[in-house]
Subunit: 234 residues, 2 copies
Amino acid sequence: MTLKKLRAKRHRSAVEREEASPNGGPRDERKQRTRRALLDAALELMQGERSFSSVSLREVTRSAGIVPAAFYRHFSGMEELGLALVDDSFKTLRRSMREARAAALPATHLIQRSVQTFLGYAQTHRKHFQFIAKERFGGSSVIRFAVRKEVHLFTSELATDLARFPLAAKISTEDLQMIAGTVVQAVLMATEAFLDLPPNEPDDAAQLFRQTEKQLRLLFIGAQGWRSKVARNA
Amino acid sequence: MTLKKLRAKRHRSAVEREEASPNGGPRDERKQRTRRALLDAALELMQGERSFSSVSLREVTRSAGIVPAAFYRHFSGMEELGLALVDDSFKTLRRSMREARAAALPATHLIQRSVQTFLGYAQTHRKHFQFIAKERFGGSSVIRFAVRKEVHLFTSELATDLARFPLAAKISTEDLQMIAGTVVQAVLMATEAFLDLPPNEPDDAAQLFRQTEKQLRLLFIGAQGWRSKVARNA
DNA sequence: CACAAAAGTCAACAAGTGTTCACTGAATAA
DNA sequence: TTATTCAGTGAACACTTGTTGACTTTTGTG
């Protein structure tokens, strides 16, 4: 106790030294590596039937190749790790979306290509998406709300994208947000069903794909008719 | 072993006696009572943060007031109890839907009233709905598919309801199914968000209510425009 | 009545759980 | 060089978990 205090006085703590150099050093690199190992292990353990809350701290450390006690050097508990996973998952998604946005939107078969792109992306990041799918309604409220916040953000970005289309002229920003929300809803549901499909079942996948395309077309038609009077002389 | 065989030969088993009278007897009544107690306990334990898979068999029996070993007189394990919960939840929902269908559909404010009715129902059966919401994407694949099957059934019933409307004339049954699916999707999402709201927050609830109403109107407009050419002379 | 069927009890089991504590050894800083 | 920080160790802790087998006690039945 007193000994601890003396030590503390003789040297400045890490925060006082304003994080001078621990970044990039071999020490920090190693730490980041095991941190990543923990995140990956948790994601891996959730494959199949398991939910995040059913994965134990000890299992994670076992898979990551460290001892249980060392876990606390990285996270205060499983919940914090869960939040880090939410962050991770959406970070990669947002990056990929930015790239997709950079390339000009295809004028033809816009919906078809969008669905294709998104489901393709979901497939290459299967584990992250499955995590999100499971925790969107399942786990602790902290994680649930973190996911929901990210989805909301995602929706807003889509809404501003949609605003560029001519059909958005007659639609209020609030309604645009609502339409974007419905689109995101449909796509997320499709993604979750898609990832839940037994792998290598191209028929089911194709069926799901067509269905989603139709859903988006339905929403598109709805958006066209929104606020503008339906054809006066039909 | 041999003793057991002898006993078995001297009397016919329950199934051989084709379930003659154990129904209604005080024995069976008691059994049904504890069975219900187990289901209720599981549902109750899921309140708040917990998912079904994180609820333990022992907790359930503890809450139900029996000893862990007695659990196996009712279910082979937690998964079977989960399936029973799925059944239970949808049974009450379907019954209520049948009643709603019996009363004539309101010609005015149809969407508004439907949403109101559904959310109201969800509120009075909060626990069942929260269970479904959590297990729709979360738990074991067996339970997940059971839920999905029930939702599909629900969708089909809505589709046949929708078929009675004049606007359904230009829509193929397959597309009608798809539209009904989108409606159910939207309503379920709204329900789940609704039940996740902090209680006694009428503003948030009203906001969610309006949003859902709009979503359904959007889908309705989309359905009107579906397959029929969009107004030739706009 | 006599006897089986069956819901529920009791005790024990091997295993797994989260968290703690004093520790070691290598990277870092003075 | 020397002292310190800190990721990771190893052991121990007090629990909780699912499942088992042999039991009691009530209910149903030939």
